[in-house]
């Protein structure tokens, strides 16, 4: 009987090569590594490499993020440790690891300790199905996008675990907000993804990248807009960061955590934008595909660009209120998502295999619809925000030169 893991083995050439290396390694004619162990070792090595790459890129990312936000705020940012402060993440990690791991009295011990682990698993799992470059991926799941939707909901559970187990009311507030927000934004996010799926005709991310003759951001502007907002809300990034709104809830669901448990939460939150940027790149920006440069570099550059845009938004915008966030999801993004899905479905129905001309016609139609929709929605929303006249004019007067010393 063929073992169950064989289909997975066949899926990925890189993995198959590693597996073959282990399985066919012989020692005086004897192959000491059995089939299942070879399977395990190959898998472990790849996962180890990918997870560590992600974590290391994220730690460097935290440094870049802090430096950039510093510059956005007309400061310098951390620049003390190492050249240009590059070792700041290392110093942070050392500090966090050597801190006392306090646990307040009256917490639910198991749930409290488990929550950070659960929280960090999900952003890492996202990278299991992302194609990092041409033929470079851990698994080409035929339900890849469904897998991503599934794992991105896991933090909700972790958040609620942390908030509930802490026995702190700020934490509980944060957890409740988090659950409400994530459940709400799941709907428009999925609706916007379905448009992409209709165009690509597959759930596999590898196929979606290959199906993009032109980037789907052009074909799905409305979908991209909805997805960008929804994924920002899913990650609790500004302006949707009500879960850990520092000015309101101190730190939200991880108020009571310290030491490396807190560090784990932070790490997961810094990985999340990279995961989100990877998903956006794959779904809307043609993934790893690009001219001249190697595919991996293209992927990395696109991810960095999307990540920068998320950062820029974070550095600028204030935070919305909880009911406004819910209203945005259900009153505006949800109908827009339905509309987008409907239009895309109609287009796919009319042009089943579109020619290049038809594709560009589709781009035109979708952009016109997107702009009309957004303008209409903006007028709907700005009804209650009629702008007032400025309070008092500031007349410009001719001033005597003060430089004459008095």
């Amino acid at each position: 009987m063929e073992p169950i893991y064989v289909p997975f083995r066949e899926a990925n050439s890189f993995y198959r090569n590693l597996y073959d290396l282990f399985a066919e390694w012989s020692f005086w004619g004897v192959s000491p590594i059995p089939d299942w162990l070879a399977y395990f070792l190959a898998g472990f090595l790849i996962v180890f490499a990918v997870v560590n790459t992600v974590v290391i890129v994220t730690t460097i990312g935290t440094w870049v993020e802090r430096r950039l936000i510093g510059r956005f705020q007309s400061r310098l940012g951390p620049n003390r440790w190492g050249p240009w402060g590059l070792l700041t993440p290392v110093a942070d990690a050392v500090k966090l690891l050597s801190k006392e791991d306090t646990r307040p009295e009256g917490v639910d011990r198991w749930v409290f300790n488990l929550a950070p682990l659960v929280f960090i698993v999900s952003p890492l799992l996202v990278f299991a199905v992302i194609p990092f470059g041409k033929n470079t991926y851990i698994a080409n799941l035929n339900i890849g996008i469904l897998f991503i939707i599934a794992v991105t909901t896991v933090p909700t559970i972790a958040m609620f675990m942390a908030g509930w187990a802490s026995g702190n009311r700020y934490s509980l507030f944060g957890a409740m907000r988090g659950v409400a927000q994530l459940v709400s934004y799941e709907v428009p996010m999925v609706l916007s993804i379905v448009g992409v799926l209709l165009l690509a005709g597959s759930l596999s991310l590898v196929d979606i990248v290959e199906a993009q003759r032109i980037p789907f951001i052009l074909l799905q502007p409305l979908g991209f807009f909805i997805f960008l907002l929804a994924i920002s809300a899913e990650m609790n990034r500004s302006p949707f960061d009500i879960v850990e709104a520092d000015s309101e809830l101190v730190a939200g669901f991880h108020t009571e955590y310290s030491g490396m448990k807190w560090g784990t939460f932070q790490l997961a939150e810094f990985i999340a934008p990279f995961g989100a940027a990877s998903i956006i790149t794959t779904l809307f920006l043609k993934g790893w595909d690009g001219p001249l440069l190697p595919s991996h570099l293209w992927f990395f550059l696109k991810v960095c660009f999307v990540w920068f845009v998320l950062l820029w938004i974070r550095a600028t915008l204030p935070r919305l209120r909880v009911d406004q966030i819910m209203g945005l999801a259900w009153k505006f993004l949800f109908p827009l998502g339905i509309l987008n899905l409907f239009i895309t479905a109609a287009e796919v129905l009319v042009w089943e295999t579109p020619t290049t001309v038809q594709l560009w016609a589709m781009v035109g139609i979708n952009w016109v619809i997107a702009i009309v929709c957004l303008v209409a929605v903006s007028h709907l929303m700005s009804d209650k925000l009629s702008t007032r006249a400025p309070l008092a004019p500031f007349p410009v007067r001719v001033r005597r030169d003060l430089r004459e010393v008095r």
Partner: protein, 367 residues
Amino acid sequence: MPIRTEPVTINLGPQHPSTHGVFRMRITFDGEIILDVEPIFGYLHRGSEKLAEERTYTQVITLTDRLDYVSSMSNNLAYVLAVEKLAGINPPERAMYMRVMVAELQRIVSHLVATGFFLNDLGALATPLMYCFREREKILEMFEMLCGARITLSYMRVGGIFQDTPPEFWPVLSDFLDYMPGYIDEYERLITGNEILLSRTKGTGILSAETAINSSISGPVLRASGVNWDLRKADPYDVYDRMEFDVPLGTVGDNYDRYLMRIAEMRQSLRIIEQCADQIEDGPIKANVPALVRPPIGDAYGHVEAPKGELGFYMVSDGSIAPYRFKIRSPSLLNLSALRDMLVGCKLADMIVTFGSIDINMGEVDR
């Protein structure tokens, strides 16, 4: 079947990121809706009023620096005005112009801090705060030129100011007046039109004019409710009667009005500073006042329009070198009187924003 819920009580503070100091509010929530608020303070009580009874009139100036530590100049001005009223001293003209000028500079500082922290409370990741502090720094540098300190200034003396301006002050002020309107425009571009700010602040934390007057609210918070009351116009002190400026007024009294009020007042302050710099003439900077002031027996109440509201000092003299009674009418404390009216019924997030828009300073609340 209705869900059985029960209200949650939270002690917001004393150590909370957005209580602007050590301030505590005992809040009862129904979900996210506020049912009841009880402010609790006194964590920063230093007994300034009692301490002043043991100090000479000049030494008390250092105490007033520490009331509202982001607007020391206004505190100094209110204090010296009260003592001058008590002792019947008239300061020379140049000193009066200098006092008005630095008090208006201080108003800009205080409003910059208020705006910055207000936007920080809205969750803008300290970006507007950093921009506001960047310009605040310029004013503090000017203060350092004038009196050698940046925060605790002790600049004014009974009967004038302590020392004339250094020559390098005027070019710096001139430059400041040139670029500051541009920076205020930049804050407005950054945030005033921002739809998130509009939706967060419009129609939240409304304070009606009647409640405001009844609760002894003063300053920008009162004027945001549409009450035209500015001591600089109503009871002009020093040389404010020679200045030409407008008093910006709000219409609704919500958080947005209070925010806009401060931006508009900064522009008006720049106008006043310009006029002061225009009109100021050479002359003595201090009236002939002995080192130990001995006002005649009696009492006096002196007040100014400080950045946060009406700051008044009620002083009783028994003819000695120290005040017999020194009472501070602090705007921050009284602006909290209507806190409950503004907060009950709104959400937790609105509460933080409303609290930020009142702009209190714990050094002045607890004294």
